[in-house]
Structure formats: structure tokens, C-alpha cells
């Protein structure tokens, strides 16, 4: 019997305005896919070789593109797949505290290098009461007040990490709680590198699966509500999108580092899974102007992307120059130090999108942080 992974997937049919359900089968032997229409009980896509899908993309909650249909994986299709793929996958919350929000790129680099995937991310500013709610289990500790004070002192970045034994890996990555101890015992850990003391210790990690579920629910509610609000300010800003191909290749950390190093201030950050309709709406201005508009839309909705609000003086122009020409080939010739020259592949997969028109910056930021997140 050949190895086969089965998933239950949903696809939003825009012409019928319906959510259609399919069973998606993936054969790792020749990386072929097969789709079965659940409602009509017939084969929708015969077994076909499809190289753009990888086994590590297949987990519940992810979105995959199969022949330009964006499928939302909602469940494992059989017990075998659940055992094989689901049992080891864990989710944990990684919270980057206000002291190292500027070094978020380094944290992301470390996360990617230890084989974890960032599935959700959000920069947010906690109020005193929210911070108290979040650290409710430390209420009796002596450092509680300082901790809450510190946590609500600035923006934090909450991330959902996924991977094999994510909880323990992230905790190991963080190292001992006190940075001084961490420097002594685990000099490779994040707290040893960036932390200052027991409270300003870079990040927070869930200590068990149950705690991870609770804390994830706090930041990324699965049912109703939006969790803590984002930190977008909508003035003097420009929008930067780290495109899905760069996110999935793990370049997000490097790009963030580069942006920070160039002196831009990241005032809001969030990861989005963009639907096709939304992507079309967002790129409305480019329709008819650039020839790559359809493939741009497809690229934007092909996976999670990271949206940033960049804040600086004369942001739009300088950041656009920093991103470089849209075509990475030209960029490599003329501006070899720009983001697109460094991380782009072609004119569509050019690592980042940046606001082109000066007055569109606010609009684009509003589109993501007000309309899609609101």
C-alpha cells in the first residue's frame, strides 16, 4: 500500500459564493495530488503530479494552492494521516517582549533555524489589565507588578509557532528565565544574547500544551473577538508586505533585520492569510497598469504573508528606494544592496511589496490593519 495523506479541505467558490469541501490526497512518493468532491461524491481532480506542494506544508490550518485554487486545510482526512503528521505537531505561543521588539528579525531567524514555522504573528500593545490577565498565574509572585509594568510598557509581538515539539524547542531556544543565568549556562540562547535581567528577558514561552492553547486563545481567539488590538497608527507611514514566498523560505527574519538596520521603524506587524478576493481588491490599482497583475494576486494569496507598517521621516520615498526596483534582475544590476536585489527571485516573487504611490501608504495600511483585521 502506497503512503497517502488525506485531508479535508475547503475552497471558497467565488462564482457560486459557496464553501466547497474536498478531500485532498497527497502521495509523497511522486508528490501527486488527488481531490474528491465530498458533497457530490465524485472525483474532482484525478491523481496528478503537482510539484508546488510539499509535505511540510500539509498541516491542519494551513492554506495550500492547488492549481490556483486556494484550499484551506481544516481537518485530517484519516487516522493514519493524523497519527503520521498530526501527533508530533505542536503549537506554542512565542511572545517577544518590548525590549527586543526592534530585534524581532533575529528572533525570527532563530525560530526558522530551529525548524519551527511561524503561522500567526501580531504586534500589539497590551494594556495594564490585559497584561494582568495574561500573567494571571504569576499574580502571587513578588515580581508581578514589575513584570506587568514592563509588558505593558511598549509593543509586544505575539507569534504562534508550529512544529515538532514546538513547546520544548522554543523554551530551549529562550534559555533560562534570568538572562544572567542564561549567559552562564546556555550562552547560545536568546536570553543570553539579548536579555538584560529576569524581567527584561526577551520573550515568553508557554510551558505546556495546555498553557499554549490558553495563551494562543488570548492573542488569537479562534471564535469571536479579535484579541488585543494592533499598533498601527495610520499617519506618515508606508506599507510593506513580505510576500508569501519569502515567508515560506524563511527570509522574513533577514528582511526585518535589514529594514531595522536601515533605520526604519516598524510600528505595526501582523501576519495575514489573504483571500483571493481581498488580494484582488488590494492590488486594484495595479490592474491594467502592470502586466503581472494576475500572478501578483496569485502570489499574495498563496500563503501567509507578513504585513508591516513602516514609520519614518519621508517614509514612502525612502522605503521605496530601500526596496529597490520591482524587477530583481535590474535591482541586482543597479542597486545590489536593496531588498529585492538580495532576496527577490523574479518580478512577481520579488520578496517585498512596498507602497508605490505616496498617498497610498495610509490607504494600504488601513486596508490591512483596519479592514482585514478590524
Amino acid at each position: 500500500m502506497e503512503v497517502r495523506f488525506a485531508f479535508l479541505a475547503e475552497w471558497y467558490d467565488p462564482t457560486a459564493a459557496l464553501l466547497r469541501r474536498y478531500q485532498l490526497f497527497y502521495y509523497p512518493k511522486d508528490s501527486s495530488v488527488e481531490m474528491f468532491d465530498v458533497k457530490n461524491q465524485r472525483i474532482f481532480l484525478r491523481r496528478t503530479k503537482y510539484d508546488d506542494i510539499h509535505q511540510e506544508d500539509l498541516f491542519v490550518g494551513n492554506r495550500v494552492n492547488v492549481f490556483s485554487r486556494q484550499l484551506n486545510l481544516i481537518e485530517y482526512g484519516d487516522q493514519y494521516t493524523a497519527n503520521k503528521l498530526g501527533s508530533k505537531k505542536e503549537r506554542t505561543l512565542a511572545l517577544i517582549k518590548p525590549d527586543v521588539v526592534t530585534k524581532i528579525g533575529d528572533a525570527l531567524e532563530l525560530i526558522y533555524s530551529s525548524n519551527l514555522i511561524v503561522t500567526k504573528a501580531k504586534m500589539t500593545k497590551l494594556t495594564w489589565s490585559q497584561a494582568t490577565d495574561f500573567y494571571v498565574e504569576h499574580q502571587s509572585k513578588p515580581f508581578f507588578n514589575n513584570l506587568v509594568q514592563f509588558l505593558s510598557s511598549g509593543p509586544v509581538v505575539a507569534m504562534e509557532l508550529m512544529g515538532d515539539e514546538a513547546v520544548s524547542i522554543w523554551r530551549r531556544l529562550l534559555g533560562p528565565a534570568d538572562s544572567a543565568v542564561a549567559r552562564r549556562e546556555a550562552p547560545q540562547s536568546v536570553r543570553a544574547q539579548f536579555g538584560t535581567d529576569g524581567i527584561k528577558n526577551v520573550g515568553h514561552g508557554s510551558d505546556s500544551l495546555a498553557a499554549a492553547a490558553r495563551e494562543l486563545e488570548f492573542f488569537f481567539p479562534s471564535t469571536i473577538g479579535h484579541g488585543p488590538s494592533n499598533t498601527a497608527i495610520y499617519t506618515d507611514c508606508t506599507c510593506c508586505i513580505i510576500k508569501p514566498h519569502a515567508v515560506s523560505e524563511g527570509l522574513a527574519g533577514k528582511i526585518l533585520n535589514a529594514i531595522s538596520a536601515a533605520g526604519f521603524e516598524i510600528s505595526a506587524l501582523q501576519m495575514f492569510n489573504v483571500d483571493r478576493a481581498n488580494a484582488e481588491e488590494f492590488y486594484e490599482v495595479y490592474k491594467g497598469v502592470v502586466a503581472e497583475y494576475p500572478s501578483m494576486v496569485t502570489e499574495l494569496c498563496s500563503g501567509p504573508c507578513m504585513v508591516l507598517e513602516i514609520h519614518s521621516t519621508d517614509t514612502q520615498q525612502t522605503f521605496r528606494e530601500f526596496c529597490g526596483p520591482a524587477d530583481p534582475e535590474i535591482a541586482r544590476h543597479l542597486r545590489p544592496t536593496t531588498l529585492r536585489a538580495l532576496y527577490g527571485k523574479d518580478k512577481v516573487k520579488n520578496a517585498v511589496h512596498c507602497t508605490d504611490l505616496p498617498e497610498d501608504g495610509v490607504l494600504e495600511v488601513q486596508y490591512f490593519f483596519k479592514i482585514l483585521d478590524g
Binding site: 490599482v285 497598469v289 502592470v290 526596483p325 520591482a326 535590474i330 543597479l334 504611490l357
Partner: protein
């Protein structure tokens, strides 16, 4: 009276005097004469009023609905207008943005292209670069040439230096000798190895052959053994069948004997019954005869007794007459009287006696009959008991025989069944044997075919080898001829000492005297 009057008269009232009466005036009529018309008119008026009201209501409704719908229309129109305006505004805005974006991108592209253009080098630069490159190339060629020259010089020195050459020759010879020795050694080793291999193969072949022989022998042995077993089985089967037949026969005979016995007992029973019947008849007859005889004898004896008595009496009478004749006269009457009385008495006595006799006879007969009846009863009981016993015995006997018969039949059936089973098993065995034989035959045929194919292949291989060898030989001969021919040609070529110089020497030839350092 008054009351009744009042009541009867209605409106009339009697006065105080006779014939004075008064009539009460009539009430005016409660309804006017034309009340129906009036009512009708009233109803009509009411209806008209209602109709009027409804009409008024309807007009009001129509007015209202018209007002509402027109309001709605206005509203919708306004909304649509505004929406359209907003969409238009948005579209124009987007168009405008698109326009500006296009311009921006265009300008940027232009600028980039310009930059690209600017980055391209000018002709002077290109010439300088080419010159530089040519210089580099020349230098590289020069250095290569130098290297070659030094190498050649070294070769020349080696050629010219006798000592070096002898040393090198010696070294080379030594090397050649060593190589030759190693070659010889390796050849010997190879030969040895080949021999070893051959020996090994021989051994393997021999072992294989032996194993095959052994297998064949064992197979034959097992075959023989199986045949023997088969024979034994068949023999036992035959014996079994024989024994079966024998047993069948015995059972049949026993059955016959039992049947005969049954018949005999039946016959015996019948005889016995007849005999019993006869005996009963006979005793009946005897009884009847005896009764008759007894009766006769008694009757005779009675008659004799009577006669004797009569005679004796008469004698006595006669004697008396003779003796007493003198007194006869006197006494004749008396005597007569007496005689008559006596006769009367006798007669009476006789009558009585007869009656008594009859009674006794009756009694005797009764007694006799009683005894006979008793005896008869006894006899009957005994006989019945005997009969019952006999019946029981016979029944038991019959049952035994019956049971034996049933057993016999069962046994026969069982034997038949066994025989059938045996037959079937034998058939199955036979089928299996045939199958086995067929399979064996098939495998042997396949093996034969295989062997034949192998032989054929071997022959073909040998044939090919032979052909190959022949071809090689022919080719060798052709090559040899070619070789000889070429050698002859070269040998027959006129020799000249003006051979063309080596290309390098030719290049260096004239200007080689001042050797570059």
C-alpha cells in the same frame, strides 16, 4: 263577574245603570302607516354613508400608497445616484491613481534604463580594455613559450648527456625487468587461479552429478516404496472386500435360517391350535356319551326294580290266598279293600318314589353338571394359561427373530455403505494418482524441454564461438597481411636524410642562436 265582563268585553265598560256602557278610546297606532318605507329609507341612508366613507378611505389609501411609493422611489433614486456617484468617484480615483502609478512606474523604468545605459562603457574605455586584454594574452603566451623552451632544453640535455642516459637506461631496464617479472608472476597467478577455478568447477560438477544421482536413486526408491504401499493397500482392500462378501453371505444364510425357523414355529402353532380344537370336540363328545349311558343304565335299573317289586308282591299275595282260603270269603272283601288300599298306597308310593327318583336324578345330574362345569372351567383356565404362555413365548421368539432380521438388514446396509465409501475413496485415490502422474509427466516433460533447450543453446553458443573464432582468425590474417604490406611498403620506400625538421625547431630555427633567458 265584573272581572269576567271586563275581560270579555275588551274596551267596553259597563256603567252603573243597565245599558249604560262606555267604550274606551283606541290607542293611536304604534307605528306610522309608512313605517316600512321609512325604515328602508333609513337603511339606505346608512348604507350610503358607509359607502361614502369607504370610498373616501380608498381614495385616502391610494393617495397614501402613491405618496409612500413615490417617496421610496425618490429615496432609492437618491441612493442609487449617490452610490453611483461614489462608485464613479472611486473608479475615477482609482483610474487617476492608476494613471499616476503608471506614470511613476514609467518614469522609474525610464530612469533605470537610462542608468543602465549610463553604466555601459565608452569606446575609449573599450579600446583601453582591449589593449589591456591583448597585453595580458601576449604575456600569458610568452610565459607558456618560456616554459616549453625550458622543457625542450632539458630534453636536449638529457639526450646529449651520455652518463645520464646510461643511468636512465639502466633504470628503465631495471624497471622493465621488474615489470616483466611481475607480469610473469601475475600471469602465473592467473593461470593458477584459473586452474583452481576449474578444479572448483569440476568439484562442483561432480558434487552436482552425485547429488542428482542420489536424488534419482532416492526418487526411484520412494517410487518403489510407494508402489509397494499401494500394492499392500490394494491387497488389504481386496481382502476386506472378500471378507465383506463372506460376511454378507453369512448374514443372508442366517436370515434364511431365521425365516425358516419362523415358519416352523408358525406351523407348530397352527398344528397345536388344531389339536386343541380337536381335543375340545372329543371331550365334548365323551361327556355327551357318558351322560347318555348313565341315563340309560339308570332307567333300566329302575324298570327292573319296579318289576321285581311287583312280582314279589304278587307272590306274597298268592301265598296268602292259598293259605287262607277258608277265611277268604270273609275276608275277601276286606282283603280286596285292603288290596285296593294297598295298591293305592303302592301306587302312591311308586309315584312318590318316582318323584324322589326324579328328584335324585335331577340332583345327581345337577351335581354331575356342576362338577363337570368346574372341571371344565379348571381345564379352560389351564389351557388359557398355557395358550398365553405359548403366545408369549412365540411372540418373544418372533420379536427376537424380527430384531435379528433388522440387525441383519442394518448390518447389510452398513456394509453396503462402507463398500460405497470404499469405492468412492478408491475412485478419489485413483483420480489423485492420475493427477499426480499427469503432473509428474508434465514436470518431466518440462524438464526435458528445458534440458533440450539448454542443449540447443549450448550448441548454438558453441557454434557462435566457433564462428567467432573463425572470424577472428580471418581478421587476424587480414591484419597480418596489411601489416606485412605496410612493412614492405615502408621498407621499400627510398630513404632520404633530408627529413622535415620538428615544427618547434622550425619555428625557433633561425633565431635560436641567441637563446632568450
Amino acid at each position: 263577574m265584573l272581572l269576567s265582563q271586563k275581560r270579555t268585553r275588551g274596551r267596553e265598560f259597563t256603567g252603573p245603570t243597565p245599558h249604560s256602557a262606555a267604550v274606551r278610546a283606541k290607542f293611536p297606532p304604534s307605528r306610522p302607516v309608512d313605517h316600512l318605507i321609512l325604515e328602508r329609507q333609513k337603511q339606505d341612508a346608512v348604507r350610503d354613508e358607509v359607502l361614502e366613507f369607504t370610498r373616501y378611505q380608498q381614495t385616502c389609501d391610494i393617495k397614501n400608497s402613491w405618496l409612500k411609493s413615490s417617496d421610496r422611489h425618490f429615496l432609492r433614486g437618491a441612493i442609487e445616484r449617490e452610490v453611483r456617484a461614489a462608485v464613479k468617484q472611486n473608479e475615477s480615483d482609482i483610474d487617476e491613481r492608476r494613471h499616476r502609478l503608471a506614470e511613476l512606474l514609467e518614469a522609474e523604468e525610464q530612469q533605470l534604463l537610462r542608468e543602465l545605459e549610463e553604466k555601459k562603457e565608452t569606446t575609449v574605455e573599450r579600446q583601453a580594455k582591449m589593449r589591456e586584454r591583448a597585453r595580458l594574452l601576449m604575456e600569458r603566451r610568452e610565459s607558456e613559450r618560456q616554459q616549453l623552451v625550458s622543457h625542450k632544453l632539458e630534453q636536449l640535455f638529457i639526450e646529449r648527456c651520455e652518463e645520464l642516459r646510461t643511468v636512465q637506461n639502466r633504470r628503465r631496464e631495471q624497471q622493465v625487468c621488474a615489470e616483466r617479472a611481475s607480469q610473469v608472476r601475475s600471469r602465473q597467478e592467473r593461470l593458477q587461479q584459473q586452474r583452481e577455478e576449474e578444479r572448483l568447477f569440476d568439484q562442483l560438477w561432480e558434487a552436482d552429478r552425485r547429488a542428482k544421482d542420489e536424488r534419482e536413486r532416492r526418487r526411484a526408491q520412494t517410487q518403489q516404496q510407494r508402489n509397494q504401499e499401494q500394492l499392500n493397500v490394494l491387497k488389504t482392500q481386496v481382502e476386506e472386500a472378500e471378507r465383506q462378501r463372506h460376511r454378507d453371505k453369512e448374514l443372508k444364510e442366517e436370515e434364511a435360517r431365521l425365516m425358516l425357523q419362523q415358519q416352523e414355529t408358525q406351523l407348530l402353532q397352527e398344528q397345536r391350535e388344531q389339536q386343541q380344537r380337536q381335543q375340545a370336540q372329543h371331550t365334548r363328545r365323551q361327556q355327551l356319551d357318558q351322560g347318555l349311558r348313565l341315563k340309560m343304565r339308570r332307567l333300566a335299573r329302575e324298570q327292573q326294580d319296579e318289576l321285581q317289586l311287583d312280582m314279589s308282591i304278587l307272590q306274597q299275595l298268592l301265598q296268602q290266598e292259598t293259605d287262607q282260603k277258608q277265611e277268604a270269603a270273609q275276608r275277601k272283601a276286606e282283603l280286596r279293600e285292603e288290596q285296593r288300599r294297598y295298591r293305592q298306597y303302592l301306587y302312591e308310593e311308586l309315584q312318590r318314589q318316582r318323584r324322589e327318583e326324579q328328584e335324585t336324578e335331577q340332583l345327581i345330574e345337577d351335581k354331575l353338571r356342576e362338577t363337570w362345569a368346574r372341571r371344565e372351567e379348571q381345564n379352560r383356565l389351564q389351557r388359557e394359561a398355557r395358550n398365553r404362555l405359548m403366545d408369549q413365548v412365540l411372540e418373544a421368539r418372533r420379536l427376537q427373530i424380527q430384531q435379528k432380521l433388522v440387525l441383519n438388514q442394518q448390518k447389510q446396509a452398513e456394509l453396503q455403505r462402507e463398500g460405497e465409501e470404499l469405492q468412492r475413496a478408491m475412485e478419489e485415490m485413483k483420480l489423485k494418482d492420475e493427477e499426480e502422474k499427469r503432473r509428474q509427466r508434465q514436470t518431466s516433460e518440462a524438464y526435458l524441454a528445458d534440458l533440450r533447450a539448454q542443449v540447443r543453446q549450448q550448441q548454438q553458443l558453441r557454434c557462435e564461438e566457433r564462428a567467432e573464432a573463425q572470424r577472428e582468425q580471418q581478421q587476424g590474417r587480414i591484419l597480418q597481411q596489411l601489416y606485412d604490406h605496410k612493412m614492405d611498403q615502408i621498407l621499400s620506400r627510398p630513404t632520404s636524410h633530408t627529413t622535415a625538421p620538428h615544427p618547434f625547431r622550425r619555428a625557433e630555427g633561425p633565431s635560436s642562436a641567441p637563446r632568450p633567458t
